[in-house]
Structure formats: C-alpha cells, structure tokens
Chain length 367, copies 2
C-alpha cells in the first residue's frame, strides 16, 4: 500500500449558476463538476495546478477517501508533499470531466427537464467542453491563471487544449503520453470498445438505467481491450508470461483480464465510456487550420513539457515528437523527454524515478 501523501480527502462539488453551451450545440441549464483539491491556494492565488484525468479516471487523484482509507487516488505517487506535484508548494485541483460518472454531470445524472437520467440524450461532449467547464470552476475558485495544467493520455490532450484556448491562464502545460490527435488505429480500438458496449443487448440504446442490469458484459470487454493496449508487450511478458493458474489451468493473463474487466464494469457507466471515447476520437485542434498544427498552436503562451514512453505503442513517442516539432516550429518553449519505462501507455501512472524527477524539476523551475 502506497503511503498516501495528502491523507484523507473529500470530493467537493461545484454547480454553475448559468447554462452551459456544448460545442456540439447542446445546452444544459446548469452543470456540476466533482473535484478534489490538495495543498493550499496561496494569497496571490497563483500556485494552482490543474490535473486532467485519462479516459477512465476521475477527480480522486491523490490521498485516500474520507470514507475509505483503502481507496488511494490514481496519481497518488505524483501528488503530495515533496512529490512531483508538490503540495507543500502547489494547490492541486483535480476534476471529474463533464460527462463523467463520478459526480460530475453526465449521462447517468438526472435530467431536471424530464426527471429521468439523461442516458443517450446527454449532449455530445468534446475536450474543449471539458476545458470550458473547468474554466467555470477556476472562476469559482478565483484562480485567474494556473501555474500548470497537467495530464496524461487524453488528459494531456486536455492540457494542450487549455494552453491553446487560454494562453493567459496557463503558465506551464505538461502533456504526458499524449498526442495532438488520434491515429486511425487509436480510433479503431475505441470503436471496437464502443461496438462491444452497443451490441450488448443490455445496452438498450443507452436507456439501461431501469433495466435489470446495465451492459456490463460489453463494458467489461471494452475495458479488457483498453487495458491490453495500455500495457506493453514486454511488461505483460514480465508480469504474466505464459504461466497458467493451478486451479483452472487457464493462463494467468486470462484470469487477470477477466477480473479487470468485471471490476471496471461495476464502477463505470457505459454511456460515459461512449461519450469519452468519442471526445477523444474527435479531438484535432489542427482541423480548424486546414490540418496545420503549427498554426493551431500559435496562440499558446505556456512553457511546455512533453513526455513520452518508448514502450507506449498506443500513444508512441512518434506522436509526441510530432507535437514537439510543431511547438518548436511555432516558436514555443518546448521541453521533451522520451523515457525508457517499460510500462507502456500506462507508464504515465507508474512510480518511475526518472519520470518523476523530470516532472518535479520542470514544475519547480517553471511553474
């Protein structure tokens, strides 16, 4: 059990006092964001770091839950006193994205207009919508500018979006295992996950909340697939090899995947999974500039740190290097580290000393 640096934490809720306009054209009269904070906002209100979560993440990034001391945040090794996102110095804010299923307004929330859950009627969300929702929270917390916006995977894309959309509100952007847009293969894997969910008869076109059961089979398979693509071949080989279970004779990796799929499907909403993967697929800031990423990046003002992992084949270093090259061509301040960690895409969650030293040093110098 990791030593939780920030101790027990309670999720807080922010509800907007005005309507929210989605980039897709949808509108909600109000939205709620679930969030946690770690550390203290200083008097100048300029030491805040915003953490953006990945596909299956949520606001509980660090510490334990006040009602469950076993439930340690997903980035606890990164956030805490003397850790890379050093809560002795910084005030860290972590939200559940809009459309999520951990307390922020999403498909499983009650639609006040109908008194039923939104289900498939929830507006299409984009990464830009997530940023806009976080802007409302920042305003509420009276944070004019973030010392840094930090994220891995889709959270890194969100940090990129922040830097481009709000150049005066982001002093540093840390984009880990990210990309400026998905490849065809990335979209393909997301689509297989969606098909697995949508073809589950329990999905009922997204109106499953009153059913006997949700589409947990489809969601479990979707998660197994995601999980395998987030790990490197080497990492899986080291951990499981071709070992079989003594009791059932099946391969250890089979048993592990079934467990991961089932666990996830009990705690995550299928409609949110569809929504989040579609947001991920659609993200492409260069598309508004005829595919010219350099132009798309030109508004940014932040000091960038881009990190990739050589064993990550879902968002490989080549994608990060494309982004770095475009940042340099756009005359931005870009720092880049390509790390050897064997963990695959999920290496961004792991406690690798080199990785942590780089993030910590960058933030101490620049944020």
């Amino acid at each position: 059990m990791a030593d939780s640096g920030v101790g027990p934490v309670e999720t807080q809720f922010f509800t907007s006092d005005k309507s929210f306009n989605f980039s897709s054209g949808g509108q909600l009269p109000t939205i709620t964001l679930a969030y946690e904070t770690y550390g203290k906002l200083n008097e100048a209100r300029d030491n805040a770091i915003l953490v953006c979560h990945a596909l299956s993440g949520h606001q509980h990034a660090a510490g334990t839950r006040i009602d469950n001391t076993q439930d340690i945040g997903w980035w606890d090794t990164m956030i805490g006193p003397a850790r890379p996102l050093d809560t002795d110095k910084f005030f860290v804010v972590s939200t559940n994205n809009l459309g999520g299923c951990h307390g922020s307004t999403g498909p499983s929330s009650i639609n006040s207009a109908t008194n039923k859950r939104f289900g498939p009627d929830f507006p299409k969300v984009t990464i830009e919508d997530w940023v806009e929702a976080q802007v409302l929270l920042a305003d509420h917390l009276r944070i004019d500018s973030f010392a840094a916006v930090v994220g891995g995977s889709i959270g890194g894309m969100q940090a990129l979006s922040w830097a481009v959309r709000y150049p005066l509100r982001v002093r540093c952007a840390v984009i880990i295992a990210g990309a400026s847009r998905l490849t065809t293969q990335n979209i393909a894997f997301n689509e297989i996950a969606r098909q697995s969910i949508m073809r589950d008869p329990d999905f009922s076109d997204g109106n499953y909340y009153d059913n006997r059961k949700p589409p947990s089979s489809g969601l479990a398979v979707a998660r197994m697939l995601g999980h395998v693509t987030y790990l490197s071949d080497d990492h899986m080989q080291d951990k499981f090899g071709r070992e079989r279970r003594e009791d059932t004779g099946i391969f250890q990796i089979e048993s592990y995947l079934r467990h991961q799929g089932d666990k996830f499907s009990q705690s995550f909403d299928a409609n949110t999974y569809l929504l989040m993967t579609r947001a991920l697929d659609a993200f492409d800031p260069a598309s508004a500039y005829d595919g010219d990423l350099v132009k798309a990046l030109s508004p940014a003002n932040a000091e960038f740190l881009i990190i990739s992992f050589k064993s990550d084949w879902r968002f490989p270093p080549a994608r990060s290097r494309e982004l770095v090259k475009a940042l340099i061509a756009a005359r931005k301040k870009a720092n880049y580290a390509e790390l050897n960690a064997r963990g695959g895409h999920d290496a961004f969650l792991l406690d690798d000393p080199t990785y942590h030293r780089i993030v910590k040093g960058f933030l101490q110098r620049n944020a």
Copy 2:
C-alpha cells in the same frame, strides 16, 4: 478482381475410416476433412505442397468456387501457374483444419453419437491434432512426403509442427509471419475475443445452434479486434486516415470495422473461433523440452524458409528471429527474410513482389 490462376475448383471431402485420438484425450469414431487441390500430382507423387490456413481461413485457398466465380481463394495470388506455389510444377493441397466450420468435422458438425451438433462438447484441438488429421489425408492421397508445407500466421506454426513431428515427410517448411509460441499480449488479444463471444447472451454456453440467433454480436466484435491487430498502424492511416463518411459523419474506419465484423460473423462459427484461438494459445513445442526450443527443433530435417514483415506487430520479426536463431543453433538449414511490406500481420496475404519472388525462388530451388 484478381485473375484467378487455377480457375474453378470444387471442395473435396476425405473421411477417415478409423477413429481419431485427440492429443487432449478426446476421441471421435471418424473425422472428415474438407480440402481442395490445385495442379497435378506427378507419377513419383513427390511434388505435393501442403498449405496450412490461418485462424479464420479454410480450404478454399486458390481459384474460384465452382458454384461462385466471384469467390476467389484467400491465397490466390500465391497459388497458380507461374505463381510462387507454381501449379505447373506442384500439386497443392489445402485443407480446412479439424475443428473448422467450412466442411471439416467441427463443433457445428453433427455428432453421430447424439444426432445433435457437437457444440461445446467438441474435443479440445491442438495444432498437433491438425497435423495428425492432415497425415491421414496425405496417406489417403498416397503422398509419402511433401515437397513443402507452407503457412502464414498460425498456419506457419502448423508448418513448424509438421517439420518437427514428421521430419521424413517434409522436405521444405515455409513459415511466414509465425512464431514458435504466442506472447502474453497475443494470448490477451485472443482472450478478449473469446470473452466477447462467451459473454454474448446468445452464446448459451456454446449450445446456440437451435437458438433464434447465434452469438453474432460477440463474434463480430472478436473479428473487429482480430482485424485491427492484423493491420499496421501505417496501413490503416494510408487507407482510412481520419476521413469521415459523408452520410453518417462517422469515421470511415468505424464503418469499415462494423462491416468486416458483421460479414465475418455471418460466415464463421463461434465455437470454432474459440477452439482455434485456444489451439493457437497452447502451441509451444519447446514446453515438452523444459522450454528449450533448440532441442524441440532437433528432429526436423526440412530446409526452412522463415519470413517476417517489419510492420507486423502481432507476430513481429523478433519472434521469427528467435525461431531462426534456434534453428541455426540446432544446425538446421534456415533461410530468413525480413520484409518491409507495410501491411502488418496480414501482409502474408498480400501480393508483394519481393515477398512472392522469395517464396517462388525458394520453392523452385529446394522443393
């Protein structure tokens, strides 16, 4: 439309006149193998080449079907007059593997003991069982020794098994995009496919033949996943990029995958898919020698040709090189080609001139 070299072909059926013992301990009183042949067996009966198919393949490897001139064999570009498996010189035999669903005895066949389909009661099959079944066919055709046994992917593993089990009956072994055993990641992808099938409520524990419908949703998702892992990222990028369909607005790759999944699920049996992937996972000739592949290969007598494709990430060149190194350590005649074709694992099916020249040259010289 490819020019079909061998013209219309009719599938033939061979039924054994004695019982078949599976390596798992199961037994059937008789088995049937569906097969096709192309070219003519010479008087010496020594010009036969055996083709082994991949996971979703079947006996129709070349030519058109006698009742469907649009249905061209899956390896038609490889087999025919003047093609790499030159039917002017060789007599090519292609079977549907035991456990298959294209005419060979498999889970969807009628079990004469119960007068019902085997379903989940079909014995567990191994690659070694496939070889033993083909030995019966070879005996029936009075082919003492094959000029070559040739296969891609799992078919390459089958060719390897032939070479080791029947050293005096295989003069050449051509193993394309193969491996001596699966990695953890390979097994993981197979398991996700199986979970997708088995968690489909229409699967009914494998007893779905009398249901309203088979587990076509689960099988479609399994196929989508397989398909994506058989293609390279670059190949998909070239073919689909991030293009969207004009009518529905979805990405072209999404539309393509749904179509591929649906098409496959209408023509393939889910129980066969489970059986075949398990045979693939279990294959590991070195396991009988304490993991020593060199020892496992020592009985072989064939001249080997190993081919891998740099863009193949499911059975990458590193796996083929392991095999080549072990063959060399075992003092076997090993030829190796690592090709640049961008098609990924499925490059073994494609009409690449360098690839074809190498196979043709090897067979002309050695087979």
